[in-house]
């Protein structure tokens, strides 16, 4: 039997771990690195490259190097977030069939799911190399605030990568599990998770081995990436004014500055000041080369990014309100995600909760460690005594009603698994079809929420209006994924309807995907 691993599939970096002989092991690559950049590079030669090698290519060929695919997964091409990413990315982002996002690199098209599958294959191979055994099953983590489309697309990526997905686990919940807190007394824990691309806050009530998520909130488009783009924009403004250039549209220059911004951010985690230099940043059409050099101090940087930190605290406020708690009632505030290394973030969180934030476990690895523990619990037959995680659905699930309003069937922060049924009536005489649109989000107007899918109940017997009743059950499973089934009262037959996620691949396609050409 293959080993079950836990994989933290991050926006910027990914990490893989498993329980071996009663202990969690984080798998390192042959150079001893314990996390891998979630970067996929295409290009020179016919093979794709993933991880550190791919990251190196980012500096000289950003247009054929895909970064932060997680920010695109399960989203519609027309969404605000995708448009924002399109403006920032050096690689091509286009709209495919049915409004799906497609990534265009060197004339080839990829779905964000495929890119994520490349990263998962890479993580799987790292684990297999370290273990000397095949890896077939995995618990894969996602931001708690991910909606159904994003979860389904992540599940599809696992299938594509040849992994049986045991569970889609929320990142903050995984982190809480890694920290443990098995002290036999009831505690309230807030997990502040600021990663490369997403922000989550989850409030848990932990009673010995029972982990109950009370409330969760987040922003799936707020993370370290945004800090870097913000600093890169400041650098670009400075560079242009120093040299009298206008490079606002130059993606390659922006990408290089983004890299420099990220390095500066890391340096400022420990130092008070950093020299930022990018030699030969820009070559003008007349052949003149321009270098970029500046000094950045922690205070200036903090001024730039303070609004982003404030946004995370507003989300914390929202989660506490949903949990009906005050910051002082939280016993422990845990820091997760690479961005929480930044002193400003750390101090702000500590101040918000009125107690020093806990970062005793490595913020880059803690999610993978929690996922590994859950993978072990779910595959071990004797796990009858293991911890139990009870999570919630992050966003309300509803259907479109007359006038474009959204009728909520399962409110946010409902414990999962759960289900809710609704009886639909025909509105016209001899109506043989009922069309139902499902949405996720908090707006009263369905158009402002995320469309999960539309489905049609057909073949209803033609009768006067109102006589035909169809009972539709909406279920949210342990992965946070939505299932719909309908019971036709006339026929008495139950029909399962899968809400098609927009990852753009049918199940057969997922299984037939091949990744032999990834260089390892």
């Amino acid at each position: 039997m293959g080993v079950a691993v836990g994989i933290d599939l991050g926006t910027s970096n990914s990490c893989v771990a498993a329980v071996r002989d009663g202990e969690v092991v984080v798998f390192a690559d042959q150079e001893g690195r314990r996390t891998q950049p979630s970067v996929v590079a295409f290009g020179y030669g016919k093979s794709a490259v993933v991880g550190w090698k791919a990251r190196r290519q980012l500096m000289y060929a950003p247009e054929s190097t895909v970064v932060s695919a997680k920010r695109l997964i399960g989203r519609r091409a027309g969404s605000e977030e995708v448009q924002k990413m399109k403006a920032q990315s050096a690689f091509g982002i286009t709209e495919g069939e049915g409004g799906n996002v497609q990534i265009r690199v060197q004339g080839k098209l990829f779905s964000p799911t495929e890119i994520s599958a490349h990263v998962l294959v890479h993580m799987k191979r790292i684990a297999e190399q370290a273990l000397g055994e095949p890896v077939e099953k995995a618990v894969i983590t996602v931001p708690a605030y991910f909606n159904d489309n994003q979860r389904q697309a992540t599940r599809d990526a696992a299938t594509m990568a040849g992994l049986e997905c045991l569970r889609i686990l929320n990142e903050p919940t995984a982190a809480a599990l890694a920290y443990g807190f098995k002290q036999g007394k009831r505690q309230h824990v807030a997990v502040y998770d600021l990663g490369g691309g997403t922000f989550d806050i989850s409030i848990l009530r932990i009673d010995d081995d029972f982990f109950e998520v009370v409330a969760t909130a987040g922003d799936t488009f707020l993370g370290g990436d945004d800090f870097d783009y913000l600093a890169a924009d400041e650098f670009l403004r400075l560079f242009c004014s120093q040299n009298g250039l206008d490079l606002a549209e130059n993606r390659t220059v922006r990408m290089k500055l983004r890299e420099a911004a990220e390095r500066a951010k890391v340096a400022l985690c420990s130092g008070d000041e950093v020299e930022v230099t990018v030699p030969a940043l820009y070559r003008s059409p007349d052949g003149k080369e321009y270098d970029f050099a500046t000094t950045l101090d922690r205070f200036t940087y903090a001024q730039w990014v303070l609004p982003l930190v404030q946004r995370t605290l507003d989300v914390c406020e929202d989660a506490l309100k949903a949990a009906n708690m005050s910051p002082r009632q939280i016993d422990h505030a845990l820091l997760v995600g690479g961005m929480t290394r930044f002193p400003l973030v750390r101090d702000s969180v500590g101040e918000f909760f009125g107690k020093p934030a806990n970062a005793s476990l490595n913020p880059d690895e803690v999610v993978a460690v929690g996922a590994a523990i859950q993978a072990y619990n779910l595959t071990n037959d004797s796990a009858g005594e293991s911890s139990v995680l009870l999570d919630v659905t992050p966003q309300s699930l509803g259907i479109r009603t007359v006038g474009g309003f959204c009728e909520i069937l399962i409110p946010r922060n409902t414990a999962i698994p759960t289900e809710s049924a609704k009886v639909f009536h025909t509105a016209f005489d001899a109506q043989t079809e009922v069309r139902i649109s499902a949405y996720q989000g908090e707006s009263r107007l369905s158009d402002d929420n995320e469309l999960l899918g539309e489905f049609v109940l057909e073949g209803l017997p033609p009768r006067p209006r109102g006589q035909i009743k169809v009972r539709v059950t909406f279920e949210i499973d342990n992965d946070g994924i939505v299932h719909v089934r309908a019971l036709d009262n006339a026929n008495g037959a139950e029909q399962a309807i899968r809400i098609e996620a927009r990852s753009g691949a049918a199940p057969e396609e997922l299984r037939s995907a091949r990744f032999d050409d990834i260089e390892f």
């Binding site: 037959d381 004797s382 009858g384 698994p417 499973d477």
Partner: protein
Amino acid sequence: MDPRLRLRFEIETMHELLPQLDYYQLLGVKQGCPQGEVDSAFRTEGRRLHPDRALAGAPPEFRGVANTVFKAVNDAYRVLRDPDARGHYDNELRAGKFRMDSEARKVAEAEAAARNDPNKAARTEKGGKFWKLALQGLADKDYNGASMNIQFAMSFEPENEVFKEYLAKAKAGKEEVKKEKSTANAYKIRL
């Protein structure tokens, strides 16, 4: 008997009896029990019955059964954990209804929400329009307009307790303004 087999047998029995079990029976508590007992019962039962535990070593066909039972336990706790919803459910239970359907739940939730935030008090769309105007009127101290709008809103939701409460407030406001005006006038005359 193997404790895991015993648990599986128990869950299967619950599954068969599911339509006849009320929320209190699902959590294994008495109807009038203190709130703390509901919480601790959920932690004990939730831990025991959670599919992740119950499914360890179980045959695949047991999966659906365990999930269905746990969804019912979750549902029971969602209602009983909230004193407002619990009170509502007790009424339903007296009428012989074992489950809160989404309509009944909506009324209970709206009442609870309205208690914390008057903006959420309206339950109908039309009533909501007038209610919004009424709250604005109260904020602007236009008590005449506010009480008129509350009465309009009440024509759509005659039973809304929050509306009734605010109508009384608006009327009290009206009296207050009347008094102020009369004293203001008296002052002017004296000038």
